[in-house]
Amino acid sequence: MSDLFQCSVREISEKLKKKEISSVELTQKSLEQIHKTEPQAEAFLTVCEEQALAQAKKADEVLAAGTAQSILTGIPMAVKDNICTKGIRTTCASRMLEHFIPPYDAAVMEKLNGANAVMVGKVNLDEFAMGSSTENSYFKKTKNPHDLTRVPGGSSGGSAASVGFHEVFYSLGSDTGGSIRQPAAYCGVVGLKPTYGLVSRYGLVAFASSLDQIGPLANNVEDCAFVLETIAGKDPRDATSVDSRKADFSSGLGKGVKGLRIGIPKEYFGSSLNPEIKEKVLNAVKALEKEGAEIVDISLKELDYALPAYYIISSAEASSNLARYDGVKYGYRAQEFDSLIDMYRKSRTEGFGDEVKRRIMLGTYVLSSGYYDAYYKKAQQVRTLIQQSFVSRFEQVDAIITPTVPNEAFRIGEKTDNPTQMYLEDIYTVSINIAGLPAMSVPCGKTSSNMPVGMQIIGKHFDEKTILNVGYTYEQIRGTF
């Protein structure tokens, strides 16, 4: 049975189409796997058995009629619990939204439902997607599939772990500063953050509106491409979504990297990088060079400024986005209070965890009277410089490769005392969100403690095809590790 869950989306879809297995059977197996694995994994916040089986039954009907339009039809998957699902609670891993049941589906859910995908449940995350270890969940601590004493990364820790533990074939995560790529790297799966605007954010509970994107996590690059082409596309409800060319990401895979120019920015391979990770990533680059890629040394000097700019911008937006949780319309309301303002304060203080409060405080501070120019405006200017820097590098190269994270997955509890230490885990990923670029983490080896290493492939705006192709080519040549 676990063999079945080693299958790629393409393989399992073949089996479904050939009726070697039905979607209901497959979904039952996925649910069994979840029941078996969850006591250790703790990736799921909600398992929706009934709805999943109903969706599977419908998928089987579609498959039987031979009208299946999507390769994802009938295949079990999981969704990060900050993506709204109609009638199914969406908690953002927060006490604040413990009982919140959205009356509507996120745009990506409409698309996946339209493809008759089967959602088996909602997976864990750092509260409101703020964190790098999923330890900031109000409900549970998700484990790393490669070492149960370690974190799966975050904030899409549940999304990465559910794929890594082979509970589902793929999952959806969201990425504001690395929240798809970093857990993908930690858990040894593929995770892709699309270009800002490629996927509708409608129904994604906002953390930082100008940085958030929904993206897939899966066992391999091609699976990511299949999911991406299902969820991509302009949505009139999301003004920031962009009319891109026809979303066809899977068809160009396999054409190789011959002549492709790949940039290696030296700042991303500095002294703070774990030497084992450096070696694995550079080995992968060498392998691509052997396949005909041209390796170009480049410089991205703004790296050191990306992290502070990111924390200012994301926290400022978050402080405003999370103001709506006030105990009036939905969510947690304190039991006792003596006035409206007291109700607000107590509900928010009791309903949010410390990391969320820290970001709200930081964001409120940088927007407050007298500080706006020094912090928020400055960060938005730095954002311009970072974007310009990437744009000019992309005149020289077609893709950029860096490590996804500077270290391997750390141990549960290791970094919870020091928030800025935790923030440094995002050093290589945040600038990509600031520039709005697409990037993907692909496994490229293991450290001596047998933990996965991920390399980050960064592309031009709306050029997901190139990074998918680079990742795919690498997957074909890397062998096993």
């Binding site: 959205p102 103001a323 009277s369």
Partner: protein, 476 residues
């Protein structure tokens, strides 16, 4: 000491678009609570705003009607504050780049034209409504009004009296009605204003410290609020006190303002660019297209009524600055009415009746054509002016035409010579002494005799014919 009052206004007008500003819910007043809501306007997690194109258009139109510059690159910003009528805990508004800026509106006050500067006009969303429970423990929130599109019009502190501000508000209301972007229904709260008032000793250049008054829902209230605030500030200064910069709330029922918050407690709104809405770029061609949709405005009408129709400045202003009269008046002219006669009727008896009914000219129940008919009957001497007034009264109650009414009421004027001669002879016979009295200088017998004829003819005799007939007999 004499003081000068300085007033500035911030007016919020709800736009009459079909849908709300950021979602497709109907922009509709008076629905059952929380039935014109969706996840977007009720601020649920995960939703995004999508800007209604018509709102941008309407604001630009208002800007052009008020002679504003249109901002080429504009954007929306978030204004952050907690309040139970604001489900997102921020209002999407415009901060440093409003759609329109630096315009003016000419008002006609006390026989003079005065130019009032318009600082800016921007778009934003309205908040919901709170109803306060009787037990004093709870309030109830209705989000139907959340997301109703507003334009906020900010004036320069150019008013020197509550009256000027009042005339401006009337003029503004008429401009918005003329261009059709707002229904301006005060009773539904679709036009509201905040009032900034300061006073300074006459001759002083520097502006005094101002206070801002919120929650003024009617023009009458606004005038009362301004007068109250002016008097309050002057009283403080007279007693040697100083004015504090503060926000006050106008309580229309009590006729007084109360302190809401002092400057120290001023809100820190933490404005920042709205990341969910793309910036707005308005090209010159778009501005020109919108400009073409603007009808003739009150000021232009005002001038035209004087030049073209020869109305007096006063009469022209009364009609031109009141959209419903202007519309009615112009339709009457189109139907062939005599401008002066129509103007007299509008500003005379029609105004009087409307005032009694506490209605505006849009409540005139009869067609402009009917009024023209009525004036024609007078002009043709078919009825007397007195009778016409009676007919007009009836026209407010029935939809019968003036001619039918004249007939039904038996008011048709008798201009038949021989018939009139008969009555005149009768009256003369009944009053044989009158010619002698007349010749002795008692000329008022003429009026008496005409009255007698009118009485005998039940008011239908044409007095203009009767007069010379009697005179002839008296002088014989």
């Amino acid at each position: 000491m004499n003081y000068e009052t300085v007033i500035g206004l911030e007016v919020h007008a709800e736009l009459n678009t079909k849908t709300k500003i950021y979602c497709s819910c109907a922009n509709e007043f008076g629905a059952e609570p929380n039935t014109k809501c969706c996840p977007i306007c009720s601020g649920m997690p995960g939703v995004l705003p999508s800007l209604n194109e018509k709102v941008v258009e309407s604001c630009v139109k208002a800007g052009l009607a008020m002679n504003c510059e249109i901002t080429e690159y504009s954007k929306q910003d978030r204004k952050n504050y907690f309040y139970p009528d604001l489900p997102k805990a921020y209002q999407i508004s415009q901060f440093d780049l409003p759609l329109c800026h630096d315009g003016y509106v000419d008002i006609y006050v006390n026989g003079e034209t005065k130019r009032i500067g318009i600082t800016r006009i921007h778009i934003e969303e309205d908040a919901g409504k709170l109803i306060h429970g009787l037990d004093g423990k709870e309030s109830f929130a209705d989000y139907n009004r959340c997301g109703v599109p507003l334009i906020e019009i900010v004036t320069e502190p150019d008013f020197r009296s509550p009256e000027e501000a009042h005339v401006f508000l009337e003029t503004l209301r008429n401009i918005l009605l003329f261009i059709g972007v707002s229904d301006c229904k005060m009773q539904e709260g679709s036009l509201r204003c905040d009032v900034n008032v300061s006073v300074r000793p006459e001759g002083q250049k520097k502006l005094g410290t101002r206070s801002e008054m919120k929650n003024v829902g009617t023009f009458k209230g606004a005038v009362k609020a301004m007068e109250f605030e002016r008097d309050r500030q002057i009283a403080i200064l007279e007693q040697g006190g100083t004015i504090q910069q503060e926000t006050r709330r106008w309580d229309d029922a009590k006729g007084e303002s109360v302190l809401l918050r002092s400057k120290e407690d001023a809100h820190d709104y933490r404005y920042f660019p709205e990341p969910d809405i793309m910036p707005i770029h308005i090209q010159a061609e778009t501005v020109e297209e919108i400009r073409k949709t603007i009808p003739e405005l009150p000021n232009e009408k005002f001038k035209r009524y004087m030049d073209e129709y020869g109305l007096s400045e006063y009469d022209a202003s009364l009609i031109a600055f009141h959209i419903y009269f202007a519309e009615f008046f112009e339709k009457c002219i189109q139907e062939g009415g005599n401008p002066k006669a129509i103007s007299n009727w509008c500003l005379g008896d029609i105004s009087k009746i409307l005032k009694q009914k506490e209605q505006e000219a849009d409540a005139i129940p009869f067609a402009p054509k009917a009024l023209v008919e009525l004036t024609k009957l007078v002009e043709a001497d078919k009825i007397s002016n007195t009778s016409a007034k009676k007919v007009l009264d009836r026209m407010f109650e029935t939809d019968k035409s003036p001619e039918t009414l004249v007939e039904e009421m038996g008011l048709l004027q008798i201009s038949d010579n021989s018939f009139l001669e008969g009555i005149v002879d009768e009256v003369m016979a009944e009053n044989p002494d009158t010619p002698a009295q007349y010749k002795n200088g008692k000329t008022n017998v003429l009026g008496f005799l005409v009255g007698q004829v009118m009485k005998k003819s039940k008011g239908k005799a044409n007095p203009q014919m009767v007069n010379p007939m009697i005179k002839e007999r008296l002088e014989k």
